[in-house]
Symmetry: C2
Subunit: 405 residues, 2 copies
């Protein structure tokens, strides 16, 4: 398999042909360096794949983009706003999402159905269309505009999240870029996970969709901040073919390299979201090995990474393996208690389902790292899976309760 390299200071505009920009329009409260509308552009048509929230209460911004993606056409860009979710606002939500696409399309000189829309922010408030009409035409698209776009989609995130990787297929260098915003909750409403992935590869559409689904299942679907699911979650993958490679269509080494590179990008963005959960101090990586299936392992890993008692134990630097066993047991996967082994940052603390002697101070020190790895071995089969979460701190509660409408 070809080497995959991390692009230095890579962003969503690292692949050939992409540019982006952002502006502050006044949709969210003003603050140092804040931006609230981002525009992403490809100088040629992109094939597109996407995954969306399964919440039955859904933003029309999602509905509009989902129908674009499912329609199978190509797109030329994305307009995303932060500060307003465009959700639970009745029929205006659709009109506004469509108009937002049209405003961006006019700016880019393309058709409205060539522009995807995404929104994140407060629920139940209409999009301030006058601000969007006024400010989108002023956005300046730049080849190094990926960082501006990343800033424009932030809500309660404490930092931008982006990455790019590159690899060779035949004589062509292919780049995949990505940007995401956090699942921290937006004050005073729930947040949204948004991720936009770009590539200059030429890819067969069905393979691209399958690869995105597979990768999302291993990454964005394996992170948890607080068990709640936004009305606006959106992951898009856009491929514009500018690298001029032989079409990637699955079933060969080039396809495997592409999938691997996409996984690296998505995993980085997903882990950064988990790490930046509201009030979080620690990234929790829960891995389950030896399950009957990968699906079982992923489910059990999610149960551990999302357990409030595990999250508070990690915050308290408490090697509380009883809570890990409890979270494992409630996941309803096949297991035998007497076979369970548990490791914290590779220090074994449970064997045959019971505590073993270990150096408590070593484990407390392990739990004080920025990344804490909880690993469970089941000895039931070959299934493995990983999930990511963060510790639960008083700051989460304060952050999400301190507001009165």
């Amino acid at each position: 398999m070809s080497d995959i390299n991390i692009v230095r200071d890579g962003t969503v505009t690292s692949p050939i042909g992409f540019s982006a920009g952002g502006i502050y329009a006044g949709i969210k409260t003003q603050g140092e360096g804040k931006l609230d509308i981002g525009l992403l552009y490809s100088d040629r048509p992109c094939d597109v794949a996407g995954t969306f929230t399964r919440n039955a209460v859904v933003s029309p911004s999602v509905t509009v983009t989902k129908s674009l993606v499912e329609g199978g056409g190509t797109i030329r860009g994305v307009i995303a706003n932060s500060g307003c979710a465009n959700c639970a606002v009745g029929e205006y939500g659709f009109k506004d999402a469509q108009e937002m696409a049209a405003i961006a399309a006019a700016k880019l000189g393309v058709q409205p159905d060539n522009v995807a829309v995404a929104s994140t922010g407060v629920i139940g408030v209409e999009l301030p269309m006058a601000l969007i009409r006024d400010h989108v035409p002023q956005i300046i698209l730049k080849e190094d505009g990926g960082d501006e776009f990343a800033r424009a989609i932030l809500t309660t995130d404490t930092h931008t999240k982006h990455i790019a990787v590159s690899f060779k297929i035949g004589g062509s260098t292919i780049t995949i870029g990505g940007v995401s915003k956090g699942a921290g909750m937006i004050h005073p409403n729930m947040a949204t996970m948004l991720a936009f992935l770009t590539t200059d590869a030429e890819i067969e559409t069905m393979f691209m969709r399958q690869a995105l689904r597979d990768v999302v299942n291993l990454t964005f679907n394996q992170i948890d901040i607080d068990g709640d699911q936004s009305t606006n979650d959106t992951v898009l993958l856009m491929a514009n073919g500018a690298a001029g490679n032989a079409v990637i269509s699955g079933g060969d080494e080039a396809s495997e390299t592409f999938r691997e590179a996409l996984l690296i990008v998505a995993q980085h963005l997903a882990k950064e979201i988990a790490r930046d959960g509201e009030g979080a101090r620690t990234l929790i990586e829960a891995t389950v090995e030896g399950a009957e299936s990968d699906a079982d392992a992923r489910k059990a890993a999610r149960s551990i990474a999302s357990s409030l008692l595990v999250k508070t134990a990690v915050y308290g630097r408490d090697p509380n393996w009883g809570r890990i066993l409890m979270a494992l047991g409630k996941s309803e996967i096949a297991l035998e208690e007497s076979k369970i082994r548990v490791f914290i940052n590779d220090i074994q603390i449970v064997s045959e389902g019971k505590a073993i002697a270990y150096n408590v101070q070593s484990v407390v020190t392990a739990l004080s790292q920025k990344d804490v790895r909880l690993r469970v071995s089941l000895e039931m089969g070959e299934g493995t899976g990983t999930a990511w979460g963060c510790d639960l701190t008083e700051e989460y509660v304060i952050f999400n309760s301190a507001y009165t409408t």
Copy 2:
């Protein structure tokens, strides 16, 4: 239907023929008035029904009691300890649970397989059998010992939880008593919900089992403190027939009255558990009406009552209806956004899926009550369901993280 009366100062020993007592043996840390072993006795054999944790990691105390109940025999008593869960301790857990039953049986002058066992407390520590051997013989059984038993099973609960009700069937007065302990987490491990229900009614076993299952589904299975599930959850219903009534066997008015009375007892105990969640200040009652089915309504109500964002919003006295819609939507039941109505303590704040004008101060005041009722109407059908939870406060986080093993 016959009148159902609340028995003044009613406890688990209010029904005829039951007595109980408790003692401090040293299983949990000493403290003012603390007890850690409770013994419940019936002067004649009881039919018994039970429901148990579904966690795959399970305490042998549960396994032993479950096999008693499923074996279909009668029991004469229950021994319960707090301070040690008797869980994840390997083969000793079974031996210890069986010996604990035998010690209680010797004290009561009955057979070991006539005594049910329950444990709650720290995981991964063996039961201190020497303390149990020494102290159980010293327990003094009293007809008014229900309160002592209630104290003996507490862990991090802030108060005892018990109730009794009575009603007439023909010329017989029937009493149902109940006691529970909370789903607050035990320091440093997860807690357990224990509930013991007693009655002097004569009941046909199959009806008794069905009635318990139905009632548990509407009460104990509809409460949530933090989404985690203990390894030791146990609900037992014991009926000794001392009231001398015509056998209750389902399908008539007497059976309906019994079921209704059992529901009152279980609902009281379940709500008290939710109200007494660790760090909680407010009981949250979430009701969903107009769902396609009762099962849908119960599922959606659970999703609302257990959402961290709803729990923090209630704590913050924040009429944040967007979070209620989000929690409703993620429950995956059938709904149409444009039909949704939301009420907080009967004040309507959402109509047709959108916010309506309301007096914010009235709603903030409603959210400041000891009980907060969130009601959602879906207009999809006739299904209704209720769930209970509590607000999430900084104290929960501090309580569950402040310990280092």
